[in-house]
Amino acid sequence: MREEDGQVIKDFMYVMRRAPHGTIYTYEGLEMVLITAAYEQDITIAFIDDGVYSLIKHQDTDDLQIKGYVKTFTALDDYEVEKLYVDRQSLEERGLNKDDLIVDVEILESAEIGKLMEEQDVVIHN
């Protein structure tokens, strides 16, 4: 937590831990991220467990008749949301690697993500 020009800026972490289209958690979580970003807070997103699937390339939701939103992740840069972390073990367990992901992320060990989590002011699980 810090203050800039009289405004309080907190460290927010959003944890994405579910597959992108089986439930609405990740999508509505992303809506929270965008609003928090508009409030110029310091945002981190951690992708763990099935959450890592949110970032895979070539997602096509047409047959599901669900509005796709993976492109929003590629636009996070514009909202100055740049701290995206992916759990290495979750990625490896699912046979994925960095090249499968649509955005540039930093791959961290679970313990490192845990440490980051500890440093946050606000952690919201989705």
Binding site: I24, E28, E31, M32, I35, T36, Q41, I124, H125
Partner: protein
């Protein structure tokens, strides 16, 4: 001996001080009533925190959590009425807030809202998270 007694006294005062720290708490509830325990836990937590002297400022309903604010539900009489609980908590001064975007998806509008709740935007949740000492999330 005198030194020990002094130490004891200091420790005692320290405990008192810690117990007297009143926190400003915001609650984020992400699940609907009955299907998950989250709505029960959030309510019981709010009551316990208030009893301890903390300031539970608001409960923000998101995802399926918005369904907690429907007045159309009519649960069995011999069970807890989760909707009514929130309304009563609202009456006691806790602000019960419903996210407009999540509410629109789920058929929750001003017309079907329980008493003492209101519809607002996600920006307010961010505000709560900034202002509160702790934002406590209840979900699945």
């Amino acid at each position: 001996m005198p030194l020990n007694r002094k130490q004891d006294k200091v420790q005692f005062l320290l405990i008192l001080t810690i117990e007297n720290v009143n926190m400003k708490i915001g609650i984020l509830l992400k699940e609907g009533p009955y299907n998950h325990q989250a709505a029960d836990s959030a309510y019981l937590f709010a009551k316990a925190a208030i009893k301890r002297g903390h300031d539970v400022e608001s409960v923000f309903l998101y995802n399926d959590g918005v369904i907690n604010a429907s007045k159309l539900a009519d649960p069995p009489q011999d069970d807890r009425n989760i909707y009514q609980r929130w309304s009563e908590l609202g009456k006691e001064g806790v602000t019960i807030l419903v996210c407009v975007a999540a509410a629109k998806r789920r058929g929750i509008s001003e017309e079907v809202l329980i008493e003492n709740a209101s519809i607002t935007g996600l920006g307010v949740l961010t505000d709560i998270a900034i202002r509160a000492d702790r934002l406590v999330t209840f979900g699945d």
